[in-house]
Amino acid sequence: MAIQFTLNGKTQSVDVDPQMPLLWVLRDTLNLTGTKFGCGMALCGACTVHIDGEATRSCITSISEVAGKKVTTIEGLSANLSDPVQKAWIELDVPQCGYCQSGQIMSAAALLAKKQRLSDAEIDDAMSGNICRCGTYQRIREAIHRAAQMHAAPGHPKASPEKKTKKPGETAELFPAEAGAVEAVAGGAE
């Protein structure tokens, strides 16, 4: 039986095993390979997509759970790399090997859609489920601060009043916040 959902703004219908994780529907059925397979157990974050705006691990989300919902993948985040997160990522040359970066970017975009004034600790907390084997964490944090500035800039279509919602997420911190140092880094990103 076909399952319908919205994928990157368009209606999509797939006839697959309802148990099949969204990740494999994207990668193998629909050939959208920007979303990556890392662990298959929601431990690495490489498969992160947005489902109704929430950052979600597609490797453990069955396609049946997605029926009727809105899915956004890295390919659909923006046209022409125009999302502030993507702009900041390129400006600061965040990716190295790049394998985890689709997931990092989707997590960061979901975070910034809810809140733009972020402390280092909040960024670290929200991003702790996305691991990077190259160790780009410092630039990721810097780029999120930079993207937040772009969000807040007048005229940006995504500039919006800050919402109070805090992302419920993992609590472990990848690295301790170094408040003073990071303020300087964020400032230096201009």
Partner: protein, 379 residues
Amino acid sequence: MSSAATKVDRREFLRSAAAGGAGLVIGFYLPGEREASAAAAAGPFAPNAWIRIGTDDTITLVIDKSEMGQGVVTSLAMIMAEELGCDWKKIHTEFAPAAKEYANPVFGMQGTGGSTSVRGSWAELSKAGAQAREMLIATAAEKWGADKSWCRAEDGYVIHTQTTEKLSYGKLAEAAGKLPVPVDAKPKDPKQYRIIGKDMKRLDSADKTCGRAEFGIDVRVLGMMHAVVARCPVFGGKAASFNADKAKAVRGVKNVVQISSGVAVVADNTWSAMQGRDALEIKWNEGANAGLTSAAISKLLADAASKPGSAVARKEGDAGAGLASAAKKIEAVYEAPFLAHATMEPMNCTAHVRADGCDVWAPTQFQTVTRWWRRKRPG
């Protein structure tokens, strides 16, 4: 690198070709065992080249090392772009196929590792760029009836320094491709560098920011199947017997086959293959390593190291005499555990087997070794 001391007149040459609007194709072969690859120039691994300039001004730089996040796409492109004199923002890069002419000069085979990419490729890529630049300048000079010394190459143009006329590389490409290749082309004086030594933007950031970068695991061939392998939990073990009935009943599973490293489940998508693997019933013959423990491995290494002379990595002076007369002696044993490489991209490989050959795509650091394995084990 040994090439400097070798005669270059006979063996070193550039191949130029102007084919189907592709314009200037430049590559060269170094002496020694890679001479044989000249024959491959016309073979299936063409273009055998590092630099291609299209008549539409596109400049393609071929990267013959594996990009693993170390930035080699950018650093090797910097070497070539510096010598070629092209606009950094208009460069295209593509990865080289497995071919002898792309052998790492340090290893003698195509491979990426040991921090050899820039120091190993420096000379040959500088020269490839310089040769292309000189051929473009010679072409422009001839068109203008000018002396070559009046011309300089910059940002994708040859500029006539007296008249300030300029011609784009694309406009010069076809004619430049017909010129003989200058074997003694001189790389720039470092004082003239405009790219090397500067903090250039990475060429691959945009592709890695929108999901467009293609990793080994992303290769798609029309109608391809996906397979996963159930492997023995012990190195060297083999499947003694297995029952695939339940695996074959999984939706999407097409076949189950025993291979040397285990039992492979083939399906029309990865997830079905994984479900099929979980449903396999396998009896393993764990083989000679069945009882192996970490303690046993440590003992094996310690025994080997204690044999006289077996583990001397470096010998200088008289350590024995020095130790015998030392006032204070410190004895310690250091052990390093086995550490998996642990890439985030799971090991994978795509093969397209046809009647006339086989294409293999793999995230690998050693392209020609991979090809050798493929030939050795066609099964």
